[in-house]
Structures are given as structure tokens and as C-alpha cells.
């Protein structure tokens, strides 16, 4: 026998899945929303996304190479996703230096200080976004109106559906006249952050993620269901002040958050039961902030708050053990 044999314990075969494969699929699933953002916002979408991805890649490389002195982790693809998601959470006319600062916070403070991919408690892209939102509230809450294909910094801004929903709930019921139709809202023919405008494109992304088994249905479905039920009850109580739940589902960052941000592997719970509670928590907090908070959008805060609770959820929500009922 000439061959030299390896000795390892079982199992001796692997299904072939890798971190890279999962990240690649997520990037593919983000493509429809990216195309929609380019159609809606034109050059601004391209500039913001390219800057964000490039800065995230640069900071990840710089930090691993010079500060941590470890082998590069660029190839795992997670920095690209963080870059895309950060861009998707920004208005299309935001100044470049803000994007770079956001990327530094997302990668540096959101991820690398905890030891890189797998160890971060909070979603890095959201850490970057919330940092920018708190630091530059004016620039972060004025969004260009759609279809200014070549405009960037000079784009004309206008109220988004979410602004209007907030105003209506605050008592300014006249704002209801300015609300776009549901069809425009669903397709993305509205103002807002880059990646969040087209509910349709995001739902295509969800189908890709579910089909390729990157995520399970638990988190996105429970978030959307909770929001529908909560806003539905409010709507039934007072349809003048509180808009139809379909507006809530399609407006703002809800869909983007439910499909791509809340489902982030690292910062979401490990069991199906835990994922359901996590989704309910995010949906509930989002609506509370939308109705009663001082920011029009509550999705990013809701996800970050629930990120912080994930270790507790993991402690409380154990899988159903085999033979448990019989014990």
C-alpha cells in the first residue's frame, strides 16, 4: 500500500457549503434592489454604492493588515455586503466624505473591534448608518425625489412617504393627499434611501435567499406580519390618523431591514423560536418608533435594539429537544 492515509474522526464528507458561497448569494440577492435604485436615482445611486463598497473594503484591508496584522479577510465577501447595505441605507445625494466616515464606523467599530466577522454583536452597516443619522441628521433625513438621472449633490429633495405618514399620525391629515399611490410605493417610484425604495425588488431578493437556503422564513415573515397586524389594528381604530398597513409594509426601510439587515447571520438568534421572537420585537419597535418617535424611520433602531437582546434570546429560546416531551 503506497498511499499515505489521513486519519480524522467522522464525518468524512461535507455538503460543500462555505462562507463565501453564502455571501455570494446575498450579493446576488441584492442585485435587483441595486438595479431598482439606479433606475430611480440614476448617477447618485452608482456614486454612493461604489464609494461605500470601496471604503468598506479599504478599511477592512487596512485594519487586518496594519492594526490586527492578520491574514486578509477580504475574500469572505462580508465587507462588500456591509458596503452595499450601508449605501442602501443612505440618501442618494449624501456627500462622499460622510460615506467614507460611515464606512469607517461600520467596519472599524461595527465589526473589527470585536474580532471581525462572526464576533460583532451589532449589524455593522446599521452601526454606520445610525452613526451618520445622529451626526448629520439634516443630510440623512432629506431625500432626493426620484428620476433625476444625472444629479448628485444638486438633486432636488422632497418629502418621502414615511415623512407624510408621520405627519398624518401627528395630526396633519391634509398630508394624506400627497401620499403616492400603492403601486408607485410597491415598485419604488418614490423618494427614500437608495436600496429601500422598491419593495418588489427586495421581495425578489427574499425569494433568492429562501430558494438558495441562505436564510429561513422566520425572521422576515414575522417582522412583516407583526407590522401588518400592529398597524392594521391602529388603522381599524382610526383610519384618518393611521394609514393602511400596506403603506407601512412598502414605505421606508422596513422591507430592506426585514429581508437583508435583520437576517444577518451573526447578529440574529440561533433557533427558530428565537428568530420568531426577534422578528416580533423588531416589527413592534419599528411601528412604535414610526408612530411616536422623533425619527420618521424606526427600522434601524429596532434592529440594533433587538441585536442587543440576541444573547438573551439565545439563552431563553432553546430548540425542541428530541425526547423532551417524554422526559
Amino acid at each position: 500500500m503506497a498511499q499515505k492515509l489521513f486519519i480524522t474522526t467522522s464525518p468524512h464528507v461535507h455538503c460543500g457549503d462555505t462562507i463565501e458561497r453564502n455571501m455570494r448569494t446575498v450579493i446576488w440577492a441584492l442585485v435587483p434592489a441595486f438595479i431598482a435604485s439606479v433606475i430611480v436615482f440614476g448617477a447618485g445611486a452608482l456614486i454612493v454604492t461604489a464609494t461605500s463598497v470601496a471604503s468598506c473594503l479599504f478599511f477592512e484591508w487596512f485594519i487586518t493588515r496594519f492594526l490586527l496584522k492578520r491574514p486578509s479577510t477580504l475574500s469572505d465577501g462580508s465587507a462588500i455586503i456591509t458596503g452595499i447595505l450601508l449605501a442602501f441605507n443612505l440618501p442618494s445625494n449624501i456627500p462622499l466624505y460622510m460615506i467614507v466616515m460611515g464606512a469607517l464606523v461600520a467596519i472599524g467599530i461595527g465589526k473589527m473591534v470585536f474580532g471581525g466577522l462572526g464576533n460583532n454583536p451589532f449589524n455593522p452597516a446599521l452601526v454606520g448608518r445610525v452613526f451618520l443619522l445622529i451626526s448629520f441628521p439634516a443630510r440623512m433625513t432629506s431625500w432626493p425625489v426620484p428620476h433625476q438621472m444625472v444629479a448628485y449633490a444638486d438633486a432636488v429633495t422632497g418629502a418621502t412617504p414615511l415623512n407624510l405618514i408621520g405627519q398624518i399620525a401627528g395630526g396633519n391629515t391634509a398630508a394624506a393627499d400627497q401620499l403616492p399611490g400603492l403601486k408607485d410605493l410597491f415598485l419604488g417610484n418614490i423618494g427614500g434611501c437608495l436600496g429601500e425604495v422598491s419593495a418588489l425588488a427586495l421581495l425578489i431578493g427574499l425569494v433568492i435567499l429562501l430558494w438558495r437556503k441562505v436564510i429561513t422564513w422566520h425572521i422576515p415573515v414575522t417582522i412583516l406580519a407583526t407590522v401588518t397586524v400592529f398597524t392594521g389594528i391602529m388603522w381599524l381604530i382610526n383610519p384618518v390618523l393611521y394609514v393602511n398597513p400596506l403603506y407601512h409594509l412598502c414605505a421606508g426601510g422596513l422591507m430592506l431591514g426585514a429581508v437583508f439587515m435583520a437576517t444577518d447571520y451573526v447578529t440574529s438568534p440561533m433557533t427558530a423560536k428565537g428568530m420568531v421572537w426577534y422578528g416580533i420585537g423588531i416589527g413592534f419597535l419599528t411601528v412604535i418608533i414610526r408612530y411616536f418617535g422623533s425619527y420618521p424611520e424606526g427600522m434601524s433602531f429596532a434592529i440594533l435594539i433587538m441585536n442587543a437582546v440576541v444573547p438573551l434570546i439565545n439563552n431563553w429560546c432553546k430548540p425542541k429537544r428530541f425526547g423532551e416531551a417524554a422526559k
Partner: protein, 445 residues
């Protein structure tokens, strides 16, 4: 179609030797019989160097109730009682016999005629099974007579025959059913008599359609034996998973036994061995072994005398491929790696698998990205990532609190991990330590 409820994975089936008729391998020049071929106390040699033995001569007695005797599978002279490295990777005492012919013990019935009638009493049948050295042929090698003597307070109502063969590559049980269905049915009826019950279910995964069909046609006239096709999913051949798939009952966590939920599970190969032991007075001296692998020239199913060196099986299958990186006794999910091809075939050798070097090397492990795929895959409802982390930290208390002793070591978690973490290695380590802690605690009581 039935299956178990929690977790499970779908590895590539790779049943390369499916449909290949069982061929009989020639006698070896020397046969080697390790004394521990079963769970429990090692057998005790009852022959000495220089003794002449026949095929079927008992060469080692059971070392207790939880043990099993061993018989020679060849005729010849005991050349030495020494040690051999078996699939455990350790040197184990063994009896070596130089082969000089094929003389059988005279009371063994070597004909192929089907012996239908069994007029023996329950005790006589159990005696024959015990004396023939029959153990679980699925790989675990639990002494069969022990399983057939469930605790008095457990009321058994169903015998489950495990013909699932969910391990990729292996086809020995499949071919056994195709070629010896009548004997298996007689074996099932003998087992029903021993257990004093009248219901048996033979569980077969749907990918063995020909076996399902054949067994169904053979049992259509027999009352009390049901063939149950099962949806393909690994590890359906796990005892607890199979019981759930067939009856919907879940065995409580250890130390509970299948008998606690009224079930006795026997592998289909064991049922055949029971038939031969009881009806033909033939001890367990040969078994069907699948020899296979992606690069193997002639994947096959061989009838092999126990004690034959693995190298002879590999030779028959066309030699060990150039690219072989791992030699495994058993299947790819739960099989044990062999150090070399000198190891002998033992009672639990269901397959010999040669894995190409490219597939044999483990990829470098990365950070856990908390994707929860291990939790979804675990058929016991455990959290492998958490158990592995606790094990790495030496936190045995957390491991115990999170049910580590329920782990059946099926490998689902590790085979799905995108970060390629050696989850099961860590879990095994912790299971070992926690088991020791529990035993020490119980001893104090």
C-alpha cells in the same frame, strides 16, 4: 411518507454498488479475530496456540452477559494470540489462525434450503442466538441477545427492522434484502416469537424501490409484518430517528432505552444472522461488506469471512485507487478511519470506503458566523455551536445543561458547517468528559 421530524441532512447518496450481486470472496491465508468486536466485555479466548479449529469452532467465550462469543470463520491452526490495530485505531488482543482448508463443524447446515419451521422455545432460540455470537450488524455491534431481553417493566409491542441504510455509499443491506428476502422474513418471525409480540415493521428508505417491492410481495400473505417505505433523510437509520419515523414515539434522553417506548430495533443484517444461527446452527462467521469509493474500479458487495484482511477486499474491487486519501470502515458520515489495509473484517464492518485525497483533507476552520445551520441540521434538537464552544472553553456544566449526552454523533452538524468547524470533535470530547462526571456523581449516591 413517514420520516423523523427534527433536523436531518441530505448527503449525496453515491450508492455506486447498488444492484451489484453479492459475490463470495476467497478464503484468506490468515484470519485475525479481535476479541472486542462488540459493545461490552471483550471475549475470552478458549483456544491455545497450536490448536486445530474448524469453520464455526468457538475460539473465544463471552466475557459476561453484556458480551458475545467469537467463532472461527476458517479451518486451520491457531498460530498466535497477539494484538492487531482495528478500526478504533488502538491495538487490541486478537486470535490469529493460519488457514489450511475449509472444513466445517459437522452440525452446521450448509445447504441453501429455506428452513421455515421453528419449533424451538423462546429460551432455546435466545440460547442459539447468544451462542452463535450474533451482534448488531449495523455497526454498533450491540449483543443481540441483550437487546432481545428487555427490562421486565417495559412492555414491548413492536419490532422494528432497520433496513434504512441511510449512510451514503453502503449497499450491503439493500443487496441482502434482494437476495435473501425469504430468510429475512423467517428471521423476523423468530424474533417476534422471542419477544412474544405479533407486530413487526421493516423500515426501508424510498431509494431502494426494488427492495421495497420485493419485500412487500413476500410479506403480503404474512400477517403481522409490515413494510414501511420512508422518505430519504440522514440519519434515519439512527435507532431513535427510526423509532420516531415508524411509530411517532420519541425515546426520552439517556439513560432511557428504545424498550421504554415499547420498541426493539434490529438491523436487517442481524435478522439474517439470527435466521442462520437459529435455523442453520451457523454462528456469525461471515457478513456482507460493500467495497466502494468514487475512484474505485469495481465497487462491489462481497460475502466475506470475518477475519479476512481489508487488503484482500480492496484487491477484489480493483485495488486501492492512486488518489486515495482516506480508508474508512463503515460509511462516510459515521465510519471510522483505518490506519492501513491490514485491519481485519469484523462483525460490524458494513463497508470499506476509499475517499480521494481531495475530499479527505479537512478545510481550515474559520470563525463561527452564527448561521444556525448546525442547529437546523441536528436531529436531536441540540445546539452544536454552543456545545462546541462550551467544550473548547472546558465548560462541562454548560454542555451538560444543554443536553450534550443526547448527541448521537451522526455528524450532521459538522457536515453542514460553512465555516468548516470541527463541531463533532469538540462535542465528542465534552461528551466524554460529561459522561465521566455523571458516572462519578452517580457512584457517590
Amino acid at each position: 411518507m413517514n420520516t423523523f421530524k427534527i433536523g436531518g441532512v441530505h448527503p449525496e447518496p453515491n450508492k455506486l454498488s447498488a444492484g451489484k450481486k453479492i459475490e463470495t470472496l476467497a478464503l484468506p491465508n490468515q484470519a485475525v479475530f479481535p476479541l472486542s468486536q462488540h459493545i461490552g466485555a471483550p471475549a475470552v479466548p478458549c483456544v491455545q496456540k497450536g490448536d486445530q479449529v474448524l469453520v464455526g469452532t468457538r475460539i473465544a467465550d463471552a466475557g459476561g452477559f453484556m458480551s458475545s462469543p467469537i467463532h472461527s470463520s476458517v479451518s486451520g491452526k491457531v498460530s498466535k494470540i497477539d494484538s492487531v490495530v482495528d478500526a478504533s485505531g488502538f491495538r487490541k488482543p486478537a486470535i490469529f489462525i493460519d488457514v489450511d482448508g475449509d472444513e466445517w463443524e459437522p452440525d452446521i447446515d450448509r445447504t441453501d434450503t429455506l428452513a421455515l419451521l421453528c419449533t424451538l422455545s423462546r429460551e432455546e432460540i435466545l440460547d442459539r442466538i447468544r451462542n452463535a455470537g450474533v451482534v448488531g450488524m449495523g455497526g454498533a455491534c450491540f449483543p443481540t441477545h441483550v437487546k432481545l431481553s428487555p427490562p421486565k417493566d417495559c412492555k414491548i409491542d413492536v419490532l422494528i427492522v432497520n433496513a434504512v441504510e441511510c449512510e451514503p455509499y453502503l449497499t450491503s443491506d439493500h443487496m441482502l434484502m434482494l437476495e435473501h428476502s425469504d430468510e429475512i422474513i423467517v428471521g423476523v418471525r423468530i424474533l417476534l416469537k422471542v419477544l412474544g409480540i405479533d407486530r413487526a415493521v421493516i423500515g426501508i428508505e424510498e431509494n431502494k424501490a426494488d427492495a421495497i417491492q420485493l419485500m412487500q410481495s413476500k410479506t403480503s400473505m404474512v400477517s403481522g409484518i409490515e413494510i414501511m417505505p420512508l422518505k430519504m433523510k440522514y440519519p434515519q437509520g439512527g435507532e431513535k430517528q427510526l423509532i420516531e419515523a415508524v411509530t411517532g414515539r420519541q425515546v426520552p434522553p439517556p439513560p432511557a432505552l428504545p424498550a421504554n417506548v415499547g420498541c426493539v430495533v434490529q438491523n436487517v443484517g442481524t435478522v439474517f444472522a439470527v435466521y442462520e444461527a437459529v435455523q442453520k446452527k451457523k454462528p456469525l462467521i461471515e457478513r456482507i461488506v460493500t467495497v466502494t469509493g468514487k475512484s474505485v474500479k469495481n465497487p462491489c458487495n462481497l460475502k466475506v469471512r470475518l477475519g479476512t484482511p481489508v487488503s484482500q477486499l480492496i484487491e477484489y474491487a480493483g485495488g486501492m485507487p492512486e488518489d486515495t486519501g482516506k480508508l474508512i470502515s463503515g460509511g462516510p458520515m459515521m465510519g471510522r478511519p483505518l490506519l492501513d489495509d491490514k485491519a481485519p473484517v469484523v462483525k460490524g464492518t458494513s463497508g470499506i470506503l476509499m475517499i480521494p485525497e481531495a475530499d479527505a483533507v479537512r478545510c481550515a476552520e474559520r470563525n463561527c458566523i452564527r448561521c444556525a445551520k448546525c442547529v437546523q441540521a441536528c436531529p436531536m434538537g441540540l445546539e452544536p455551536y454552543l456545545l462546541a464552544t462550551a467544550s473548547e472553553a472546558g465548560d462541562w456544566a454548560t454542555a451538560e445543561e444543554n443536553w450534550i449526552m443526547s448527541c448521537i454523533e451522526c455528524g450532521c452538524c459538522q457536515s453542514t458547517c460553512p465555516s468548516r468547524r470541527p463541531l463533532l470533535d469538540w462535542v465528542r470530547l465534552a461528551k466524554n468528559r460529561v459522561g465521566g462526571i455523571i458516572r462519578a456523581r452517580n457512584a457517590k449516591k
